[in-house]
């Protein structure tokens, strides 16, 4: 755990998870990129509006019987509303918990730095995409913008940035594809029911 002071408001802030790459000041909303030698302010943004959610930053509990701590979240805005992607400490490992209009998905496996397929921008739902040696069927493709974040985050994305999201299916698992011009990341997970999640406080 490392303690700092917010570069904008001076409030005491601390990093609790070794995988965090971004820290959002809970008092003023300033985003800080986490560097080896300290925090690098990346801009001040409005705090996220409170929408009903299972989690809040710092809450603990179990998912499928394993302990978790909610570290922070990124909120995406799309035509159907908002969805939150929580970065969690899942039994000591990084995990991502997506909450979209009452449906829950836990991603525990991340495959990074994969080559971006040439046709990725023109893909449509129902088409197959080869990610490494995995043939993923595109279940949903859409566009969203980053609404903002809070707490500790795994990625840094500037609020207002456009994002193309691709959800897929591979071998009975849900997948989420995130990509830039250069590389692609594949998150692999599973759908959860509310009963699979226990929030203790």
């Amino acid at each position: 755990m490392a303690s700092y002071n917010c570069s904008s408001c001076g409030a005491p802030i601390e990093i609790k998870n070794r995988f965090s790459k971004v820290l959002v000041c809970p008092y003023c909303g300033t985003h800080h990129k986490v560097r080896v030698d300290g925090l690098d302010p990346a801009g001040k943004h409005p705090k996220l509006a409170e929408f009903p959610s299972l989690f809040h930053v710092g809450c603990r509990g179990t998912i499928l019987g394993k302990p978790f701590t909610a570290m922070g979240r990124l909120r995406y805005k799309y035509s159907g509303g908002f969805f939150d992607e929580w970065f969690i400490d899942y039994d000591g490992e990084p995990g991502w918990f997506a909450e979209d209009e009452g449906t829950y998905t836990l991603f525990t496996e991340l495959i990074e730095a994969m080559e971006v397929p040439e046709n990725i921008q023109s893909l449509k739902a129902g088409q197959n995409i080869m990610i490494g040696d995995r043939r993923v069927m595109i279940k949903e493709k859409g566009h969203a913008t980053i609404e903002g974040g809070e707490g500790e985050l795994f990625h840094y994305m500037e609020p207002g940035s456009p994002v193309t999201y691709i959800d897929g299916i591979w071998e009975g698992k849900k997948t989420s594809v995130e990509f830039t011009e250069d590389e692609l990341e594949l998150f692999i997970g599973r759908v959860l029911l509310k009963r699979d999640i226990v929030v203790e406080g």
Partner: protein, 480 residues
């Protein structure tokens, strides 16, 4: 854009912004010609059929006339298999290929364990679907097939296009009236699967059929439990009735078959060679046209079982002389032996009845020629019929049909010995022995049993239909 503006836009022509009106288009030809409803621009005449979004917007009201007759309602709550459910959203789809009403309803329900379910109502059946992630799926396998869980499915037999025609409540996306979706419905094992594919999303759900009893007890017990039980009870009664009528039809069929195969030849042989030929191939011309006439008198036969059913058969013996592209008709009279004798006595004061001599035959010919004008009927039984052999051509090519046998049942009132008097009329000259007569006794008539079979089958079908259609509930119940 407000909802009102959207509605206003929806009923305008996309080409000229003119108003749309109801119209129809004729498709097919001849007996298959049908009037297909369409929306048509009243200004430029542009047509919008069921393959356009405008059609569904224009006819939106017609797809929801039976909206009250659904099992589920928005806000309905119930407990199914220990889980609480609440219906929060509703979408109605219409099959695009059908221009008549062919809809189904999908109800989005949230359960107490946080899961989302789709309760589907279709053709009186109810299914419970939830999202499913298959181990393997390939929707790009080929233009005619897709792969799901290692098995190939035909797109043609499982796929169809659907349009959203109504939506209400909370849904996970914002549906539009007329929005198109490609659907694949199929069953694997005991589960039903649905793949709904639009340009942006593929939704895969796995479901199972729910019994109406389970659904009613879970969601609408207070309102409909009693009516449901009554419906089930009545349907069972109809099922039993249908079964009883089936058994009765089968029993009648048994009697009818017995009737068809019953009967024994009578003791007396009818000798075709030993026949009195009164007239042979006598050429005639009258109002009926030109024909050749035979008048034959066969030796008497004994028909001695009063009140019994007999069958008489008159047939062409095609071995003796085939009937080829010609016709022949006949009239057979059964005349009591003593009636002929009596007549001959009157005319000639002759001896005992028996084979007539030439003088008697002359008298008899006169008598038989005039038989229809006699005040006192001479014949005890009369049977007429026709034999024919024809060829022709129709849509399926050449046909050849013939009918060379005629039979008739009769109830014998007066037992005794009977002469058989046969008149034959033919287009061409025919051999005297080319037609034969035979009798069978102990006949059981099949006719009445055939009528009974028909009646019982009709009653069975009516009751069988009611086993599925009888319903005291406001919504359709396909099975129980």
């Amino acid at each position: 854009m407000s909802d009102d503006q959207k509605e206003l836009k929806a009923i305008k022509c996309t080409a000229c912004n003119g108003d749309l009106g109801r119209s129809y288009r004729l498709e097919g030809s001849g007996e298959d010609q049908e009037e297909i409803p369409i929306a048509k621009c009243l200004s430029c005449g542009k047509e919008y059929d069921q393959h356009t979004q405008e059609y569904y917007e224009f006819y939106a009201d017609t797809f929801i006339t039976d909206l009250e007759n659904t099992v589920f309602k928005l806000g309905l709550k119930g407990v199914l298999d220990g889980l609480e459910y609440e219906i929060i959203g509703h979408i109605r789809y219409q099959e695009e290929e059908e221009y008549e009403l062919s809809t189904w309803d999908e109800w989005l329900a949230v359960s107490s364990d946080g899961g989302y379910h789709w309760f589907v109502e279709e053709d009186g059946e109810i299914y419970d679907f939830e999202e499913y992630a298959p181990q393997s799926i390939n929707l790009e396998l080929s233009p005619s097939q897709f792969e799901f869980e290692g098995k190939k499915y035909s797109r043609e037999s499982t796929g169809f296009d659907a349009r959203i025609v109504f939506a209400q409540g909370e849904l996970s996306w914002e549906p539009e009236i007329g929005e198109q979706m490609k659907c694949y419905d199929f069953k694997a094992g005991k589960y039903y699967y649905t793949i709904e594919q639009s340009e942006d999303e593929v939704s895969i759900t796995k479901g199972k059929r729910l019994s109406h009893k389970k659904v009613i007890m879970a969601f609408r017990k207070d309102e409909y439990a009693e009516k449901y039980e009554n419906t089930v009870r009545k349907r069972k009664v109809y099922k039993i009735k249908a079964l009883v009528y089936l058994v009765m039809a089968l029993v009648s069929m048994g009697f009818a078959i017995r009737g068809c195969i019953s009967g024994n030849p009578i003791k007396d042989k009818i000798d075709r060679k030993n026949v009195v030929v009164i007239t042979e191939n006598e050429y005639k011309q009258d109002k009926a046209g030109n024909y050749y006439l035979h008048q034959l008198l066969y030796s008497p036969v004994t028909l001695d079982k009063a009140g019994e059913m007999y069958e008489v058969r008159v047939a062409v013996d095609t071995v003796v002389q085939p009937l080829s592209l010609e016709w022949q008709s006949f009239k057979l009279l059964l005349i009591k032996e003593e009636r002929i004798a009596e007549f001959l006595k009157k005319k000639q004061a002759a001896g005992p009845a028996g084979r007539p001599d030439p003088a008697e035959m002359k008298l008899m010919k006169e008598m038989l020629d005039e038989v229809e004008t006699l005040d006192d009927p001479l014949e005890s039984f009369e049977f007429s019929g026709e034999f024919w052999d024809e060829v022709g051509y129709d849509d399926e090519g050449r046909w050849h049909e013939s009918d060379t046998i005629a039979t008739k049942d009769f109830l014998l009132d007066d037992p005794g010995r009977y002469y058989l008097y046969l008149e034959l009329y033919s287009k061409n000259k025919r051999k005297t022995d080319s037609v034969y007569i035979s009798f069978e006794e102990n006949i059981r008539s099949a006719r009445y049993f055939v009528i009974l079979i028909f009646v019982f089958i009709v009653l069975m079908i009516i009751n069988q239909v009611r086993t599925k259609s009888y319903n005291e509930l406001p919504f359709e119940v396909a099975t129980y």
